[in-house]
Structure formats: structure tokens, C-alpha cells
Amino acid sequence: MKKVKMYTLSTCLWCKRTKSFFEEKKIPFECVDYDKADEVEQERIMAEMRKNGGGGSFPYVCIGEDVVQGYEPDEFERLLDCKNK
């Protein structure tokens, strides 16, 4: 199974829905709440997001080598299905 990693904000509605999406499908994921991280970690996260063309908009989801920014359940499904085939 592809590794799923996400950066989220604890205050973000769409981050909450993104986490629920993966939890309901029982897909394990790593998650870091940007707003709960220390400054060094925040800068590292922001640098990673910017390197991949994203700004500071959350959620930011890495599925394998692919990145999805925003709550896009169809895209999550597509990337997960590709992996599971």
C-alpha cells in the first residue's frame, strides 16, 4: 500500500474531513498538525510544501509520490486505487 502522509491544521474543516476519509477507509496515515508543530518543524513543512508548488493552503496530502492539496476525495480514491491494482 502506498504510504500516506499529510500536513493539516487543527482548525481546518477540510483537514478534518480528509482525516475522516482515510480513517473510514481504514487506510493508515501519518499526520502532522502544522499549527501544533514547533517553529523549526513549521519551517520545514512550509519549505516542503513550497518545493512541491504549494503555498500555505491545507490539507496537504502525499500519497506515495503524488501530492494532493485540498480535500479531493475523488483524487484520493484514484491515487489509492492505482496503487492497490
Binding site: 491544521l9 482548525t11 481546518c12 474543516l13 477540510w14 483537514c15 502544522y34 499549527d35 517553529e39 513549521q42 512550509m46 512541491n52 508548488g53 504549494g54 503555498g55 500555505g56 493552503s57 491545507f58 494532493v68 492539496q69 485540498g70 480535500y71 479531493e72
Partner: protein, 114 residues
């Protein structure tokens, strides 16, 4: 913050935002549960940082950039939000949209200015 103060502050933000976004062609999402969740987050930011920042965009150490995510942040992201017919967090949607569930977030990296 007690519940009475929280409710009053959420009501105040609605009162402040509504005429501003109206002039920009937007309105509050009709999904009350979502609006309530987002406004509650903004009230907590206002109490903690003095500004009702967007709950779905990150604050950094760059104050000028942070000012671009103070709600309602539509003027700073006008073309991007107009393309989505919603703001990033979804608190506001275009006036001509009745069902916000049809709207998708377009990542800033995928949005190309017309």
C-alpha cells in the same frame, strides 16, 4: 471564552463580514454546521492573535503574508477564489451558487490566472 461570549463574537463576525463579501459577489455558505465550525476557529484566532485568520491557511513569520489570510481574504486571492466560486475554507461561496457541495478546492499550484 464562555459559550455566550463565543456566540456573540461569531454573530459579530457575521455582521462585519456579510456586507464586505456581498460587495465582492459572495455570501456565507448555507451549510450552517460548516459556517459555525469555521467561525468558531476564527473567533479563537481573534482572541489569541487579534485577527480572524483563515482556519485553513497557515500563518508564518511573514506578517505581510499573514495579512493576506485575514478573513474575509477574498480580495487577496480574487481570481483564484472566483475560479473555485468559493474561498479556500468555504466560509463564503459565490452568490450564484446554491449547493456548495458541488464546488472543489483548486490548489494554488494548479490555478492559472486567465
Amino acid at each position: 471564552m464562555n459559550l455566550t461570549t463565543l456566540a456573540a463574537r461569531k454573530k459579530a463576525l457575521r455582521f462585519l463580514f456579510e456586507p464586505v463579501v456581498d460587495k465582492l459577489g459572495y455570501k456565507f455558505t448555507p451549510v450552517e454546521e460548516d459556517a459555525d465550525f469555521l467561525l468558531e476557529a476564527e473567533v479563537s484566532f481573534e482572541e489569541k492573535y487579534g485577527m480572524p485568520y483563515c482556519p485553513c491557511q497557515a500563518r508564518t513569520r511573514d506578517r505581510a503574508e499573514n495579512m493576506k489570510i485575514v478573513c474575509p481574504c477574498i480580495p487577496f486571492h480574487r481570481e483564484h477564489f472566483d475560479a473555485m466560486k468559493r474561498c479556500w475554507c468555504g466560509l463564503f461561496i459565490h452568490k450564484d451558487v446554491s449547493d456548495p457541495s458541488t464546488l472543489k478546492q483548486i490548489p494554488p499550484s494548479k490555478f492559472r490566472k486567465p
